[in-house]
Symmetry: C2
Subunit: 139 residues, 2 copies
DNA sequence: CCGGATCCAAATCGATACTG
DNA sequence: CAGTATCGATTTGGATCCGG
């Protein structure tokens, strides 16, 4: 039982295989974008250094567990740097690395696209749900 | 029992809440980036019109089920357009919409970043795994 | 304050079989 | 060929308790 769900290095190691020519190292990045919290944490850290508790408050809805896992994953990927001060009570600072900052730029690019197309997306969704008999939608 | 796992509109409808100012419509985009196949399908479709079977072959490892779900989600989001010809045997064409093409551009941007930082990321990962007692890693 | 450990509910995915 | 339905395995995330 050396591997539990609290481990960090249990996903996205291999399991992609040859995919052509467009996506070779993207899988790992996508895995980081895919989970609910990494992006939000990076966005918050792009504003400056944050402590654990600060991050927790800045990202409403995240649990301590997920924040721990998320920061750890980001550290492992070299996107975030962690500095722990063994004081009482303990204090831990998180900050983006230089690579993390470029990653934040990519996210910003993504956010821009989202803003530009959010309406169209919601609209398309509504139209699709209307055309098809949809019993699973809202209300 | 009107909702099964084959339905398309059962995730990412609400459940985000106010998050500040950086991520308001991003969640939906991220959900599409997050799943294993959407990106690959979009990349393939960015090369031209594809039929169902063609997509299945172009994306090795995808199951019919996941391809159906993925294309359906992309259609719902207005990123992909579907044209079905009721012939025998049936034929269905998938193509990117104009919005889908801009989305493909974003993905390309992402892919560029991945390529540029893949080595650094792998390296950081290795270093992290070495520093910490890691029993879950490769070999 | 920071974060690890355990338990548990839910979403997701893959394999398979079946229909038009 | 294109798509649906069902099932089981895996993964993921949240709640909670505990320790440094």
């Amino acid at each position: 039982m050396s591997v539990t769900n609290t481990d960090v290095s249990s996903q996205a190691d291999a399991a992609l295989g040859p995919c052509g020519d467009d996506d070779c190292g993207i899988r790992e990045v996508l895995d980081r974008l895919g989970d609910r919290w990494s992006v939000l944490v990076v966005v918050e850290l792009s504003k400056g250094v944050r402590r654990f508790r600060e991050l927790e408050r800045a990202v409403p809805g995240i649990s301590q567990r997920m924040l721990t896992l998320t920061t750890k994953r980001l550290c492992r990927d070299g996107l975030v740097e962690r500095t722990a001060y063994p004081t009482i009570p303990p204090q831990t600072d998180y900050r983006l690395t230089s690579m993390g900052r470029t990653f934040a730029d990519v996210i910003q690019h993504l956010a821009d696209w989202s803003r530009d197309h959010k309406d169209a997306l919601v609209d398309a969704r509504a139209r699709w749900d209307a055309d098809h008999g949809d019993t699973t939608g809202p209300s």
